[in-house]
Subunit: 131 residues, 2 copies
DNA sequence: TTTTACGTTGACGTAAACGTAAAGCTAAAC
DNA sequence: GTTTAGCTTTACGTTTACGTCAACGTAAAA
């Protein structure tokens, strides 16, 4: 539908709850390249989507450099197709990290339980032993 | 059993695959406090466990400051008990982040699929349309 | 006794991802 | 016409988590 919708920088910053400084920084790092209207940056739907990708990457713990790589794959320069393989690798990596994290969380909960039980046992011992 | 086992700093660094610099840094940040034998640091089983906690926290995306807080809770100073509530909060936080990340990964995979299909469709169109 | 290995304390350097002014342009509102 | 709102570039500052020397101590091995 409204594929031609455009956004100002403050507009985007509000929608994504980030600062305009961050958005300009992403551009300076080669992740975004909005059109201009005079001096002003005009962001397209495509830029919007790219920004969404950037933030998603951040949540997954990717560096901006990594995201840039993937974004450039999503924006193939006519001659070279998108390299699914590399994207899938990154996704796989992230998933494995998550796997490890879930394991870490489980362990923490188990250890907390153990600790709690230990403390309770000690308390019982105290009560029993106190004259 | 061997609760009195001790470790040198390079010993720990090898076991955990981190640098001695990192270990000293954790100490300077108040996360570790090994005994000394003259100048040399002697790490106990407790220090070993603390270090394991630190690294686990790192994998979960916690800052050293956050981990320090939790570690201090694990080492209650006689008068104050461990505050499970806070630890559980942190764990809960981490788990929610993981939830979001899993969602992000799903979306990425779906979008990759869509993209792939789109490309294939375009290719078919090209083949059909070419005279 | 001189390497060699391992440890110590400074102290400065670094990378990533922005934060935080400063100073100026521009267009609409009052 | 000047205030206000929003945008621009430039540039230095900040935080976290160490890395990377340098210069020195100690103790065992060759």
């Amino acid at each position: 539908m409204n594929k031609n919708k455009t956004y100002s920088i403050s507009d985007l910053s509000q929608r994504f709850d980030i600062t305009t400084r961050a958005i300009r920084f992403y551009e300076s790092e080669g992740l975004l390249s909005p059109n201009r209207e005079g001096q002003k940056r005009i962001y397209s739907k495509k830029d919007y989507i790219t920004l969404k990708l950037i933030l998603r990457g951040k949540r997954l713990g990717w560096s901006l450099a990594e995201s840039r790589e993937l974004i450039q794959m999503y924006n193939p320069k006519q001659d070279n197709e998108i390299q699914y393989q590399k994207v899938l690798e990154k996704v796989h990596e992230s998933r494995e990290r998550l796997q490890q994290q879930l394991h870490d969380i489980e362990i923490m909960l188990v250890e907390l339980d153990e600790h709690e039980n230990r403390v309770n046992t000690e308390l019982k011992g105290l009560t029993k032993g106190s004259p």
